[in-house]
Symmetry: C2
């Protein structure tokens, strides 16, 4: 998760919402990604999608079996769906998405349409750090827009 936080800081330095992800297989990081929606002007450029894209290219396989994705923020429906489509085994995330009060993440992961189950873990150890990165980013955004 520390590596995912490093990724989120890359987004922060580029004035993007600071979210980072890494994909791990056999205890090695095989792909990294950070949010670059504004720079790329692309709605798909979430940290998880960037990392999944790289991991598929690296393994030359659309199935990322036996992989874990570490991401600093609870995945949105697009990313949760992509994680399932890629058959990723486990999600470890840092901060809860405060706009997500609909349990959509859980509902998407519980769906049995793909005959694939993905485990979901929130790490309490890094929750505060991941959450603070986002809170501070939006606080600064609000302050600078007031000026």
């Amino acid at each position: 998760m520390e590596e995912a936080i490093k990724e989120s800081k890359k987004a922060l330095r580029r004035n993007e919402v600071p979210i980072g992800a890494v994909i791990v297989k056999d205890e090695k990081i095989i792909a990294r990604g950070f949010n670059k929606r504004e720079k790329t002007k692309n709605a798909l450029a979430h940290a998880e999608i960037v990392a999944i894209n790289k991991a598929c290219n690296k393994l030359k396989d659309w199935r990322l079996e036996d992989c874990t994705i570490y991401v600093t923020l609870e995945p949105c429906p697009m990313c949760a769906g992509a994680i399932l489509n890629a058959r990723i085994k486990r999600i470890v995330y840092g901060a809860k998405d405060k706009t997500a009060n609909d349990e959509l993440l859980e509902k998407i992961l519980q769906s049995n349409r793909l005959n694939h189950k993905c485990e979901l873990v929130q790490t309490s150890e890094y929750e505060k750090d991941c959450s603070a990165l986002l809170t501070n980013f939006f606080k600064e955004k609000r302050n600078s827009s007031k000026k």
Copy 2:
């Protein structure tokens, strides 16, 4: 929708699950996509994602406002989430996804986390054609694997 069906046939000719999509703005097609998961060995390469990626690149904007996406099959959670993230206004789809008995598409579209609503329409006119394309594809797959 006829253009989305044309796209799905491009997938079919490449031995991919035949799903196609087009994105329309101001009555013009701005992007096209067909499923190429097997060829690209990429879990993200659904028709809708391919089309959204192209549309964002074309408009140089992650917001595809006032756009309609036509897709031959009911979108999966990843694609539904991507359509929302891209602020697409309307989805018109052909065939129902028979593996989807969980109403996830509706739940994802009803989510108010993005403060964006996307209209969902199933077109009865093309339902049979879109559905037959898929059914025949999987029937042939099964027959050829029996041989």
